[in-house]
Symmetry: C2
Subunit: 239 residues, 2 copies
């Protein structure tokens, strides 16, 4: 089994994901938020790339039972119901609801990987379950980090490295590309201080500055849920 | 001082290098080859991005004292004088000569960074000297890895990490971006087995397959020369 990791969606060449199981990661915070939303009973999520498309989508399918969610610059978008803090996505807020979701990097990556064999969303909180779900299928694996404005994000890479680590526990013969190897080394380096890593990452420092420091301990939890969101027909659902 | 590293030139946004000292790295093998060529007395190097441009450049400035050099797919290009093995660039071959050089990733990165404040070429063999040259100037630093067809190359990252390590010895207060931090962790991980890293990297395995395994120990040497090539007016020269 080949495990290829990409530091951001821009690295992926056209069509190369068609036959692969693809895991999208945006550890701070979109993947953690969407895993949490589905674990807390939300019905489905529609990821879109722009604020305009989010508004148009809600107009088309709502407003009944539809929440407009997401961020720009880390902050809740004006007129939206929720931002991108996983702590907002409580059962009493999201249960049974359809979420239209847009974030700067994560939702764009989710839109980008449409058309792959199987699309999953991975975070620290569901890494082990994500690895098991990958192996329940025989396809080759691509882990696509959302990155930050086309740059490498150390927390996405480290989260990818945790998933690689879980895969290697089950399939020690897996062959890693250079970026997957790099991610695995990062995870081993930071395994005992994930929160410290998040606090000092480029994106984590920004989140602390704008008042979302309390999201970091939540995003640094490992394997607290079995929920692995699946991207299917332009929606993200719990299987 | 900020030290930003980029995993490949595609990550760099337009114009963002204009005020910075930029180090281009293609550890396997272009940077090692060009450092060696200048250390062995070559007059100057003209890096170009395509084979056609290499041929046109020699026509324009040669043929007297001009060698056509480079690779595609790792192999010497038909009709060229030299390939991309540093072991070919001996004093008796290159002294006093102008080299027109094209390689799949490295020379493209060198062409890409034209217009920056100061362009340098870094490799394992000149890492310490490169760090000292960076600090002799007050500009902010960008380390641009050539990567491999727009993907992260673990050996370029590790070489970048060695340069970061040398910079931190002299300027412990330097602020690293996420990718520079990742590179530094990779270097610390592989510091005692650089040859093992090169042999098992995606690109190193390809070079071994096509018969260039003997280049790897040469490319894995650390700080064997003080020569730091400078990119100036579309040429690469020894200061």
């Amino acid at each position: 089994m080949n495990v290829d990791l990409y530091t951001n969606p821009q690295e992926v060449s056209d069509g190369s994901l068609a036959s692969r199981t693809v895991v999208v990661i945006d550890a701070l915070r979109a993947s953690t938020t969407l895993v949490t939303a589905l674990a807390n009973g939300c019905r489905e999520i529609v990821p879109v790339d722009t604020v305009e498309r989010a508004m148009a989508t809600r107009k088309r399918i709502g407003p009944q039972g539809v929440l407009l969610c997401g961020e720009r610059g880390g902050l809740k978008i004006q007129g939206f119901d929720l931002g991108n803090s996983p702590r907002e996505y409580l059962p009493e807020v999201v249960a049974g609801k359809t979420l239209v979701f847009t974030s700067t990097n994560g939702s764009r990556a989710m839109v980008f990987v449409r058309g792959c064999h199987l699309g999953l969303i991975g975070a620290f909180i569901n890494a082990g379950a994500t690895a098991r779900r990958i192996l329940s299928d025989s396809a080759e694996v691509a882990i696509v980090c959302s990155g930050r404005e086309n740059l490498l994000s150390i927390e996405d890479m480290t989260c990818g490295g945790l998933i690689v680590s879980r895969l290697l526990e089950l399939r020690p013969e897996a062959v890693l590309n250079d970026a997957a190897r790099t991610a695995h080394i990062l995870y081993e380096h930071y395994a005992h201080d994930l929160l410290g890593l998040l606090k000092t990452s480029d994106h984590g420092r920004h989140l602390v500055e704008i008042g979302f420091g309390d999201d970091l301990p939540f995003c640094a939890l490992i394997d607290t849920t079995h929920v692995v969101p699946v991207i299917r027909d332009s929606k993200v659902v719990k299987e």
